[in-house]
Point group: C2
Chain length 423, copies 2
């Protein structure tokens, strides 16, 4: 089965909007055993929509489109679909009822733009859109399936999960694909590839390996194809065991794990708590941690000590330390970590102080210089890093690195505790 | 001139990675007067790369590709380019020197993967990649231009800005496109469209209007085409003046403005300072503000008071208030704002307390219920909001709404100050 995605919208082609829908759809389809073979982003003009419908009809079995179903006049998908499938717009009372009930919840009155959304192509099967006012549409032509969904991400998501994938599952006997992701931290892509050279050359033919780098993290993705899921799972697990022997020090998690989800699980399981003191990361670590549902179980809070004044007043950093060593120093970041832990009465704490850039660097401490400290009752560990010259990436790398240092400290404390029990 | 983008990588088609490169390239090209007509994402197999090269050769004048130039074995773009352009890989000493100097900075030794990156197709013009080890490649065939760039975003960005756009500018006489974005907050897309119905129908034919909704914000994008930039700028400005009469209360900024950049400019200009107290937004507001270079001029810091204990201990919230009204209440959020402002000794403060979800809601305070308070010496303003049931969007909407309340308070204070001066 060949599946293509089509995202429609001038905002994608002028760069005003990033196409996040495609990646999300591709991921969900992939998990359901459906491999997307191509993604096409086109303008919302009659010509380009008709063009891509003809093109994908020749190339694919299933075409999933998003965008252009909205209530405003730049949304032209519906009339063009009618033209291509030789049908016309008809008023659908079920859809109208649904729109009215959604608007009532937001205390909005229905207007003519909302009314237009109740018009749907006559030959389409309607895919009920719980989350929004634009219905999903399902067409069939010459044994090919065309699905048109709204471009608003959370509306599209509900339709893909609840309507599209279950329907495709009924029609096609899907091949079995199994994928695992291994998350590494602290090593560059080329250096990782060198360490995994033999591993890679020994991989069976039905397993592929991809390297996916992002600031501070390289993900390794192993994908296996076959027909017996149990065997596939087993085969991939064997490869992961191999990796755990080759690069144990760099593996930090698997699949959808993020540092924030790993920390959430580790500390919640241990009934331990965390606080943070952030200077250059400016709240990013706290924001990452609290993005995870359930973080309130272990995360008590933190201080964004962006100015030196706040470091002194709120974190009780000695003015003499700031004067002598500067805010980006081992001495200051250690006291930030220790004082925050005591102030917030938590088991662990993390502190970061650095020069995110693009300006503010010196010869001795160039832009990217960052001190990170993690602290618990038993020990405090601090390290200096030299990240790059890009503010955004420096903030991300510092945040990820700090959370990895915390992860290592939690594991270290477990080992010490076990040793203390004579285990 | 017809321009297409091609992003190469299995990680795009299985959804492991979101294609952010295309949007960025499209935006930069657009600003330079180059309209992208289509974006294609394909797998990194020989067949699909050869296929898209043939397809785009027939359709476009300029094709810009990213991805597959890395050092690992899943990067196949270079040999396939050689096949298509009938050339071969040759060792380039200039590129090698550059790779060595980059690795030296990171204290890494060159390995065979890095060495492979010094091999480039003989017939290609080399585009020097300051930021990374994979050179950009420029091919010409039958008067068509093909450009191949690394997929690592910051490397691609440097190449587009410093090499590709200047080179295209020399070759083509680019049409004049002028675009402005008007940022609105506090109104839904359909309601906005209703208010702008007449405005839209009266727009001249060479101006287009698009609605770009995101959590808490709807962007309006006006694009004009013509040949005289001065006239185009003038024509769009007239339309913006019209909008300022129709929806003055919803317009919060223009173009690349973000709430964080607007606040940074407003408070820096006034030499005033800000602190934040975040509960459900968990550091997101601080993180947004500090993402802007120069935020240290006005932003002193904040407290992420995620647990009630921290609200009491660090923000001096009366335990009786928490007991009687709960953490998500006018009483608590107001005290959070006032106490933070006093504690951090700032001119303004922002406080947020809400139920981000997905659980934790009650009948009286369902998930999405959020109290926001902004405070300055002269006044404290608090409002309750009912956002939705999605954690991530609730955090974003609360953050954006809080910053808009702050923006309004700063303007309000200006007006009061002017009145005080008898102006």
């Amino acid at each position: 089965m060949i599946v293509e995605l089509v995202t429609i919208g001038n905002e994608l082609l002028n760069g005003q909007t990033t196409d996040t829908n495609s990646a999300w759809m591709a991921q969900q389809l992939n998990l359901a055993g459906i491999q997307v073979s191509r993604i096409n982003s086109i303008s919302d003009s009659r010509e380009s929509i008709l063009g891509i419908l003809e093109e994908t009809e020749a190339r694919a079995d299933v075409v999933i489109m998003t965008g252009g179903l909205g209530p405003t006049s730049d949304d032209v998908t519906k009339p063009v679909l009618c033209e291509f499938f030789n049908t016309e717009l008809v008023f659908n009372t079920e859809v109208l009822k649904h729109i009215e009930s959604l608007l009532a919840k937001k205390s909005c009155k229905i207007n003519e733009y909302n009314m237009k959304q109740a018009e749907v192509p006559e030959s389409a099967v309607i895919l009920h859109n719980e989350a929004g006012t634009a219905a999903g549409l399902w067409f069939e032509k010459n044994k090919k399936i065309f699905i048109s969904l709204p471009g608003v991400p959370f509306e599209m998501k509900g339709l893909i999960t609840k309507r599209v994938i279950p329907a495709l599952n009924k029609i096609f006997s899907l091949p079995v694909i199994h994928a695992r992701t291994i998350i590494t931290q602290g090593i560059f892509e080329a250096q990782l590839a060198e360490q995994l050279k033999d591993f890679e050359s020994e991989l069976p033919e039905n397993i592929s390996l991809a390297y996916l780098p992002s600031p501070g993290i390289v993900r390794l993705r192993l994908v296996i194809r076959g027909d017996d899921l149990k065997k596939l799972v087993n085969d991939i697990d064997m490869q992961i065991q191999k990796l755990q022997h080759i690069i144990p020090e760099y593996i930090v998690g698997f699949d959808d794990d993020t540092f924030e989800s790993i920390i959430c699980e580790m500390l919640s399981d241990r009934s331990q708590t965390l606080s943070v003191a952030e200077s250059c990361t400016g709240g990013t670590i706290a924001s990452m941690l609290t993005a995870v549902h359930g973080s309130s179980k272990y995360f008590k809070g933190g201080i964004v000590a962006y100015s030196n004044e706040i470091k002194k007043d709120q974190l009780a950093i000695e003015p003499s330390l700031l004067d002598r060593y500067g805010a980006v120093s081992k001495q200051v970041v250690e006291d930030m970590a220790i004082n925050t832990r005591l102030l917030f009465n938590t088991d662990f704490s993390v502190a970061v102080s650095g020069i995110a850039g693009p300006s503010g660097g010196t010869d001795e401490k160039p832009v990217g210089t960052t001190w990170i400290s993690v602290s618990c009752k038993e020990s405090t560990v601090s390290s200096q890093f030299r990240f790059g010259d890009n503010r955004d990436r420096n903030i991300k790398r510092a945040s990820v690195t700090a959370l990895n240092m915390l992860r290592k400290m939690i594991i270290e404390q477990d080992i010490i505790a076990l040793k203390g029990l004579g285990l």
